[in-house]
């Protein structure tokens, strides 16, 4: 079967070459005839060739889900991983003490059955689930929890060297972890820290098997062992990561036999693979292709707004944006609806303030986005006495959560030009860009693009809007915003463990920041995914994580 076409092919190839090389002057008729013969031979050869390779319509195997990822994972060690791309795999292999309730950003029990918080907000005591086993057969106990956090936080811990753990500062507030019993563990904090539970639900808080870390050391990131719904099976560099069903999962075993994650960096190729049937599910569909998938018959498009915000940092220390009217004018002058509709093609929603609406318990519903009002912007600019100074605008070429930074930057520049602002764009590659923006805009730039994905309403304002978060003090307040009231509210919110009360404080912060306009608030990204119709029970999470336990695949 295989050999016949190959041999035929070889014969035709030889014929073709010989025919072509009957070369010297010949009667014209003969020459044309031989040329035709050559062409026929070649065509036949090509068809034989493809006959050899021809295969039936690509179909992925039953009950095995193939996911198109955006990049090669960096590490399967949740304490070492920093990218959403890695988190999408990790969340299916590990559990944390707590997790987000599916479809929300509310905390619910996971490996911890219950917990109590002391009145001063500094002692968190967790009662652990009993009988949970890591994939390597060892038992999950309070000692394992202690090992996990000390490995990350304690420089002298014997397995601290298996790091580095870049996001360990999520738990820098932890003073000590005390084992109270086989299934009871207490965290002592240096100071009250309300986002602690949210941070535990983040991938950095996932629990790894101490025995596996001891066995594999630094290579644990490539031989991961957790307690999750799926267990690690195989990682072929730049080709696939395979995880298989954990039949002994404490929270009912998944129906899928296995999940295969394929890194496909190039967005066009990812789309082509989806169309060709090489993958069942793809995340982060480029805006340009979304409309096409919406019209396609055999796929479903999923969209979900997440804890993301895209904004412009305005320099409040140097230049025209020292004046609040100028900052508000920028907010009025940008046509956010056009950005969302035309540049992002509906893959985002307009932002009203610094907090994404998915944090329902902390979001200020009464805030309205700055309307598009160039006339008002012009008046404000005139009142602020802007003399046509050049405004430098840092734009990045791409980066985590930055969406379409160049197109958006140019559209914003055009909008601002309409109200008389002279904006000059300087664009940089992502790492260079961060190196320019994070140390503060200083006198070099007046505005910069930025985007954050967060896990708690505290994160972004605390790291990027407080006076104590100016870059020289180690924060991300690159535009030098300062407002003592905001500082006080954020501090109070961290100390309160009552969620309703915290929410109230964050609503106030949003109202003040909205009016002060230290940023131009642009958009919240809607994460999207496309799945084949055979994929059932899939849901995108507001946390942006990919949870596949309840997914089924049927023909």
């Amino acid at each position: 079967m295989v050999w016949i076409p190959t041999r035929l092919k070889a014969l035709y190839l030889m014929g073709a070459i010989r025919g072509t090389l009957q070369l010297r002057p010949r009667p014209r008729l003969r020459s044309r005839y031989s040329f035709l013969k050559i062409v026929c031979c070649w065509l036949l050869a090509v068809f034989c060739f493809f006959g050899f390779f021809h295969r039936a319509n690509a179909q992925t195997p039953e009950n095995i889900l193939i996911v198109g990822q955006i990049a090669e994972p960096k590490s399967m060690d949740p304490h070492a991983a920093t990218a959403l791309n890695d988190f999408r795999i990790l969340m299916n292999m590990y559990d944390g003490l707590v997790r987000y309730k599916p479809g929300t950003l509310e905390i619910e029990p996971a490996l911890a059955k219950a917990w109590t918080i002391s009145k001063d907000g500094k002692h968190y005591t967790f009662t652990l689930r009993q009988g949970v086993k890591f994939h390597d057969g060892t038992e999950f106990t309070a000692e394992a929890v202690k090992f996990n956090f000390e490995r990350m936080l304690n420089d002298t811990h014997p397995y601290h060297k298996t790091g580095p753990f870049p996001l360990a500062f999520f738990f820098s507030v932890v003073e000590s972890v005390i084992v109270k019993g086989r299934y009871s563990v207490e965290f002592v904090l240096k100071e009250p820290f309300a986002p602690f539970l949210s941070n535990l639900a983040y991938p950095t808080g996932l629990i790894v098997s101490p025995a596996a870390v001891k066995k594999h050391g630094k290579a644990f990131g490539r031989q991961p062992v957790g307690t999750g719904a799926f267990q690690f099976a195989e990682w072929q560099g730049n080709q696939k990561v395979v995880i298989t069903r954990n039949t002994a999962y404490w929270d009912s075993a998944p129906t899928l036999e296995a999940v295969i994650f394929r890194p496909i960096t190039d967005a066009n190729t990812r789309v082509a693979e989806m169309l060709a049937g090489g993958i069942d599910l793809m995340v982060e569909v480029p805006p340009d292709n979304l409309a096409m998938f919406e019209k396609a018959k055999d796929v479903t498009v999923y969209q979900q707004t997440g804890p993301h915000v895209w904004f412009l940092i305005l320099n409040m220390k140097h230049g025209p944006f020292k004046d609040k009217r100028m900052r508000q004018a920028v907010n009025y002058a940008i046509n956010k609806q056009a950005l969302v509709n035309n540049v992002l093609q509906g893959t985002a929603v307009i932002a009203a303030g610094p907090t994404p609406p998915v944090f329902t318990w902390a979001y200020n519903e009464s805030l309205q986005p700055y309307p598009y009002d160039p006339e008002k912007a012009r008046k404000l600019i005139k009142a602020a006495g802007y003399q046509g100074e050049k405004l430098t605008f840092y734009v990045t070429e791409g980066g985590s959560g930055m969406l379409e930074p160049v197109a958006m930057g140019t559209a914003i520049q055009a909008d601002l030009a309409k109200v008389g602002l002279k904006v000059v764009i300087e664009s940089y590659e992502w790492n260079t860009f961060l190196g320019k923006v994070n140390p503060g805009l200083g006198e070099k730039a007046d505005m910069a693009e930025m985007a954050w994905m967060i896990n708690d309403p505290d994160t972004l304002p605390y790291l990027a809007l407080r006076t104590a978060a100016w870059p020289d003090k180690g924060g991300f307040n690159s535009g030098y915003y300062t407002n003592p009231e905001v500082d006080a509210l954020l501090k109070a919110a961290r100390k309160t463990t009552d969620q309703a009360q915290r929410g109230q404080l964050y609503r106030k912060v949003q109202a003040i920041v909205h009016d002060d306009a230290p940023w131009a608030f642009i958009a919240h990204w809607q994460q999207n995914a496309v799945a084949h119709h055979s994929v059932k029970g899939f849901q995108l999470q507001p946390s942006f994580f990919l949870l596949l336990k309840d997914v089924q695949k049927q023909r």
Partner: protein, 319 residues
């Protein structure tokens, strides 16, 4: 001949040393550092400093370079920051994939390029010559990644004859047939420009040789035409074509960078792009050293082949 090869092999060392120093300096000079790349949004000066210290990047540049070099001499290529894996393991695995792709592409470009060039030269100004010249021009001018996408759309999405990307089937497969199936599109795309260059050069080199007296003599003695063309003319023309084919070997290795991205081939090109984006100096060093060594070796092979074909060169270099 052996002395010559030995001398050339020795000469590789300073080339690689200089190259590694250059790569190191460039990586140190471009803005951004591995810690910032790892931390992303969370790259505060404090976090960056702590991570740099853990990664051993808080030492002076010269110190870092010499530490790296002394480890390299002992066969330790270091550990990649971004992949958390030994550089040597990663580089060898990736290079293996690239060699398959680049090798196939080079073979395609050599065989078809030579063939097209010879045919075009032998039948100068004929139909076939015009077609070859035109196709070559289009091939050279077309951006290869764009062609790659078109081929994917046609063969993988529209007709579903060939897989769209990857090196092996994601489930099952793994045999040679599976590999070949996945190899067709990327190898073809990667070879197209190089094929054009080789065809063009072969055509002009052959045209030159075919006009020479000894070819007329060969024909006059009644040799069969394909013998004249292949044994006599092509052998002489090859002396000029071989160095270009060696350069094309370098070209397909370099071109693999973007072709691998389009076709998701798990090769060293894609690894280098990721390594540079995450400022992973050790991985970049390892990858560049590997590619450079391969490139130098290809050129050496080309020189040897040239010497084998051309007695005049052998005389001049006394080997």
């Amino acid at each position: 001949m052996l002395t010559y090869i030995g001398y050339r092999l020795l000469a590789i060392t300073p080339v690689l040393l200089g190259l590694s120093l250059l790569v190191f300096l460039v990586m140190a000079l471009i803005p951004g550092d591995p810690a910032t790349a790892i931390l992303g949004n969370f790259a505060t000066p404090e976090n960056v400093a702590r991570l740099n210290q853990q990664l051993g990047l808080d030492k002076s540049l010269a110190e870092q370079y010499f530490i790296w070099l002394s480890h390299l001499v002992q066969g330790d290529w270091g550990r990649s920051y971004s992949l958390n894996r030994l550089v040597l393991d990663e580089v060898l695995e990736r290079f293996h994939a690239t060699l398959i792709l680049a090798g196939a592409a080079w073979l395609l470009c050599s065989v078809f390029g030579l063939l097209a060039g010879v045919i075009a030269a032998v039948r100068q100004y004929s139909w076939i010559d015009k077609i070859v010249t035109f196709v070559v021009l289009v091939g050279i001018s077309m951006p290869a990644f764009w062609l790659g996408l078109l081929l994917i759309m046609l063969f993988a999405v529209e007709w579903q004859w060939l897989p769209a990307s990857g090196m092996y089937a994601i489930y099952g497969g793994g045999d040679i047939r599976d590999l070949l199936t996945h190899l067709v599109l990327p190898a073809l795309t990667l070879s197209i420009v190089a094929m054009g260059v080789v065809a063009r050069l072969t055509r002009s080199a052959m045209l030159e040789v075919l006009r020479l007296d000894y070819i007329r003599t060969a024909r006059a003695k009644g040799l069969k035409e394909h013998r004249v063309v292949f044994r006599h003319a092509l052998k002489a023309a090859l002396v000029n074509i071989i160095p270009v084919m060696a350069i094309q070997a370098g070209f397909v290795l370099g071109g693999a960078v973007y072709i691998e991205t389009v076709f998701q081939w798990p090769g060293i090109g894609r690894m280098l792009v990721n390594a540079i984006a995450s400022r992973d100096i050790l991985l970049v060093q390892g990858g560049v050293l590997m590619v450079a060594t391969a490139y130098v070796l290809f050129n050496l092979c080309a020189d040897i082949a040239q010497h084998a074909l051309d007695p005049r060169l052998r005389l001049r270099n006394r080997i």
